[in-house]
Amino acid sequence: MSSAPKNASQTSSAGQTGHDPLAGRLLDVDALIDDPATAIIVCCGSGGVGKTTTAAALGLRAAERGRKVVVLTIDPARRLAQSMGLTELDNTPRVVKGVTGTGELQAMMLDMKRTFDEVVLAHADPERARQIMENPFYQSLSSGFAGTQEYMAMEKLGQLQAEGNWDLIVVDTPPSRSALDFLDAPNRLGSFLDGKLIRILMAPAKVGGRSAMKFLNVGMTMVTGVVGKVLGANVLQDVSTFVTAMDSMFGGFRERADRTYALLQAPGTAFLVVAAPERDALREAAYFVDRLESDRMPLAGLVLNRVHSTGAPQLTAERALAAAETLESTDLEEQPTDSVEAEVLAAGLLRLHAERMQRIARERRMRDRFVSVYPDVPVVEVAALAGDVHDLKGLREIGEGLNRRP
């Protein structure tokens, strides 16, 4: 993985001066996916920026460049799933057909509940596993509250890595800020497990007199009472049964969470933040970059999707608009029909061009703002496509776009 030089900070209103603030810190995606040391790529970003598509395109490109790849997607759009031949959510990697070259591409969709069940089965004896899975609290928890998805995505990543069948794993993350909540998992699980709550929950009846609780003084009895009253005695019973049954597994849980965290921090992992050149998407990207940095996660760079360009940059928006107005104000009746049609068309094209130039300028401003705040984050821009991706060909084009040099 290449890290960008630090000295390219002359970001004086680029676009006007012609100086490209990205010079010297382009994200080299091919170098990243070709590097045999790169074992895991995690794509994160807000919804609607093409994160899943980017993950799939990266996976395909890496495979076609000779690597053995698995792509783990979370809730992909139907068409994208179909483009990789995924028709059912079965929690198992499937070989994607139609991939050229010596590598191999497999893809899968995450099934939260099944992944959770697998964890339970791996950590508990069959009888206890059955108890847990029959518990209503568990059933509710495992089938898709906000949050479970994030944890299970990381759990699955850990499983895929442990299987060792692939030399590159590309992971998509859920489309929300909480996508990085899994980074908190080891700590939160830790404070929960080392904490007192679990003991209260495990033994609601006998809490008061236990010596372990003494240092918590008066508040404790009240807490027990409140937890019991608020949740209702039967809920507390369910939770208690659940926690007791899970108790033997929790150590394992924590260990796994720690291991996944370490895996994410390891040099073989690369995080890609995906965004579009829009205010909201870039604000979310900034949040992700900050978050990854504060956890010292290896950030490879920013993928900026849907960037617009033009073949006629020499014609400014102002001149295009002025010319369109000139054409529209010409007295059309004095001219032959052919040339009238041409003039209407020319005016329309000039207006479109003006719109395009304004859009490019706006996108560039957004990008430059990000770049000046995060001068060390390499960036790659991917051109806007006319429509959605429907097949491998479309994914391949995006993969090429990820490596097109300006």
């Binding site: 929300s176 010319a323 068309l345 094209l349 006319a386 429509g387």
Partner: protein, 351 residues
């Protein structure tokens, strides 16, 4: 009469990136016209509302973020006379909401602090993430039902910037699930009360989309899912609509032999070099030629998009739901833009 006269809780969902927060804010403003008071609720702890209204981060309290002067959104209606409408906003903080929720049932005092100390808050919001949704929907319903000293509702309408389409059914139905788990007790009673609001005619769930394939597909799926979950589907808000500058017929006409005339028209309009006076009018300078191809390419792209948008619009219309269109505001949405969007919504009868 506006389309959603009886609705008091407007839940705004949609695929990520479609502008849910913007639409929710514009709707809250439109509903505040004519001397009404609305509350805009943010549930994802992103401070998107503060960003949109150009104010500093919102604390966990209801705060006025905008006023809507009489007639600010177009012609004055009959309802409110000359009173000014008010938009309040609330960014929900989960931890505080949880303590408040517990406080609803019991005076916690020191026990509240102790709960935090033993990790109950972390446990509750992380390990049992469903509780987040209980708190968020509970808070919204509380605001809907709240009455002032005069016995009238404090807010004429509550607009919630909700989780994305894929999660919204589950999010809104969380209380059914909780009621099933709890079966009786205070939590059960509370969940039932929340579900009564959500499943009543006072609640509508709106979906925001763009005229693009994935968001429209997700909207179609979302509507089906909401209906299957027994949730009241409201309207589809088509956001960021761009006016067609050229239709495909015009662009197709430009293909082939028209390029020459186009080049001339451009040159006549002062773009590129002027044609050589000594030659025939067919001598097009190189500088002008260099413009024609890229401009035509952009025209073709535009025409393809217009065509695609037409298909997407047909798919949206096939849902047979009330549909409102919001124009794309180039340069992004600020407070001024919100008024424009709110006016557009009002004009189309959404409020």
């Amino acid at each position: 009469m506006p389309d959603w006269e009886g609705a008091r809780l407007h839940v705004v969902s949609g695929k990520g990136g479609t502008g849910k927060t913007t639409v929710a804010a514009a709707l809250a403003m439109a509903l505040a016209a004519e001397g009404r008071r609305t509350l805009l609720i943010e549930v994802e702890e992103r401070q998107g509302i503060a960003e949109l209204f150009g104010i500093s981060a919102l604390p966990y309290e209801e705060r006025k973020v905008a006023s809507v002067a009489p007639g600010a959104l177009g012609a004055l209606g009959k309802r409110g006379g000359n009173r000014e409408g008010e938009v309040f906003a609330l960014a929900i903080d989960i931890e505080q909401a949880l303590l408040e929720y517990l406080e609803m049932f019991y005076k916690l005092g020191r026990a509240g602090k102790a709960l935090r100390k033993v990790g109950f808050i972390d446990f509750a919001t992380t390990i049992a993430p469903g509780l987040r949704d209980v708190l968020l929907t509970g808070k919204a319903c509380e605001a809907v039902r709240r009455k002032g000293a005069d016995g009238r509702r404090v807010y004429d309408a509550v607009v919630m910037d909700a989780p994305p389409t894929g999660r919204v059914s589950r999010f809104l139905n969380i209380n059914t699930e909780v009621a099933d788990l709890a079966r009786f007790g205070p939590i059960f009673t509370q969940s039932q009360a929340v579900m009564r609001v959500i499943q009543s005619p006072e609640t509508v769930v709106h979906l925001v989309t763009l005229l693009e394939e994935m968001p429209v597909q997700e909207t179609v799926d979302g509507v089906a899912e909401l209906r299957a979950a027994g949730l009241p589907v409201g309207a589809v808000f088509v956001n960021m609509v761009r006016p067609p500058v050229l239709d495909e017929a015009a662009v197709l006409a430009a293909e082939g032999d028209h390029a020459e005339e186009l080049a001339l028209a451009l040159a006549d309009a002062g773009v590129g070099a002027r044609p050589n006076r000594n030659g025939t009018r067919k001598t097009i300078p190189a500088a002008t030629r260099k413009l024609v191809e890229p401009l035509l390419a952009q025209g073709r792209e535009h025409a393809a998009r217009v065509l695609l948008e037409r298909e997407q619009r047909a798919d949206v219309q096939a849902l047979k739901l009330p549909t409102y269109e919001l124009p794309l505001l180039s340069g992004g949405v600020d407070l001024g833009g919100l008024y424009r969007l709110a006016a557009a919504l009002k004009e189309q009868g959404a409020a």
